[in-house]
């Protein structure tokens, strides 16, 4: 059982870190396309927040006045990153549900 738990923790952490990375890249690309100063700062800012999405929500509200001028090539990369974020989220969900199952039904 402990082996399963370790694998699930690994899957969960992998999902969480890749998700954070994808969000960072997405926000950085978006901020660059809108001509915002310090796009990397906005990327880091969006990963934070006391409940996980606070920073991202603030960024989404704040960017409204700035129009995106993203090129078609970048748009493709942008959309592919969104899909990858979705896959990372699936890993995270799988890991979290698996760990819940082990905690509730297992002997950990």
């Amino acid at each position: 059982m402990i082996v399963f738990a370790v694998i699930l923790v690994f899957i969960l952490l992998m999902g969480a870190f890749t998700l954070m990375y994808q969000v960072f890249k997405l926000v950085t690309m978006d901020a660059e396309s809108r001509g915002l100063k310090h796009p990397k700062f906005w990327g880091v800012f969006s990963m934070g927040g006391n409940n996980g999405v606070g920073g991202l929500l603030l960024y989404l509200i704040g960017r409204k006045k700035y129009v995106s001028n993203m090129s078609d090539a970048n748009k493709e990369i942008f959309n592919s990153r969104k899909r990858r974020a979705g896959i990372s989220l699936c890993f995270f969900v799988f890991g979290a549900i698996g760990l819940f199952a082990i905690m509730i039904f297992g002997n950990i």
């Binding site: 926000v27 999405v53 929500l57 129009v67 969104k82 989220l89 549900i97 819940f100």
Partner: protein
């Protein structure tokens, strides 16, 4: 012609400075500069104020600039563009209320605890994905 160039031309014709326009419509001078250089776009209320100040019609200001129309659509039609997000938020709130109301019942059964945690994780993740899609 794009809206930035139109705004600049109209301001010049009126003989106004960016500072005086900024003071008149209660925004910063930098904002006026950003609008004129198309680094950002004015919201609909500011467009109306500017059309009054420069004595040009909204038609003249807005027509022919697809990006501005796109920006206005994005910023005004929030209900349609956010339907899935609103649904995800509503589902999360509904689940939280459900868990609070039935927590005494849920806690007695391991399968119900498992089901609740599964629903919680999945619904939160769907909400997060909807937020990511908005980037």
């Amino acid at each position: 012609m794009e809206i930035g160039a139109k705004l600049k031309e109209a301001r010049m014709t009126k003989g106004l400075t960016q500072e005086s326009v900024a003071e008149e419509i209660k925004v910063s001078r930098q904002t006026i500069s950003n609008w004129e250089n198309e680094k950002s776009y004015p919201d609909i209320v500011s467009v109306i104020k500017l059309s009054d100040l420069y004595n040009i019609s909204l038609d003249q200001l807005l027509k022919g600039d697809e990006k501005m129309i796109e920006h206005l659509e994005e910023s005004t039609n929030t209900i349609i563009s956010n339907r899935k997000l609103i649904f995800a938020i509503a589902a999360n709130i509904f689940l939280i209320i459900l868990f609070i109301l039935f927590n005494g019942f849920i806690i007695k059964n391991n399968y119900l605890i498992m089901l609740s945690s599964m629903l919680g994780v999945i619904s939160t993740s769907i909400l997060f994905y909807q937020i990511i899609k908005k980037i």
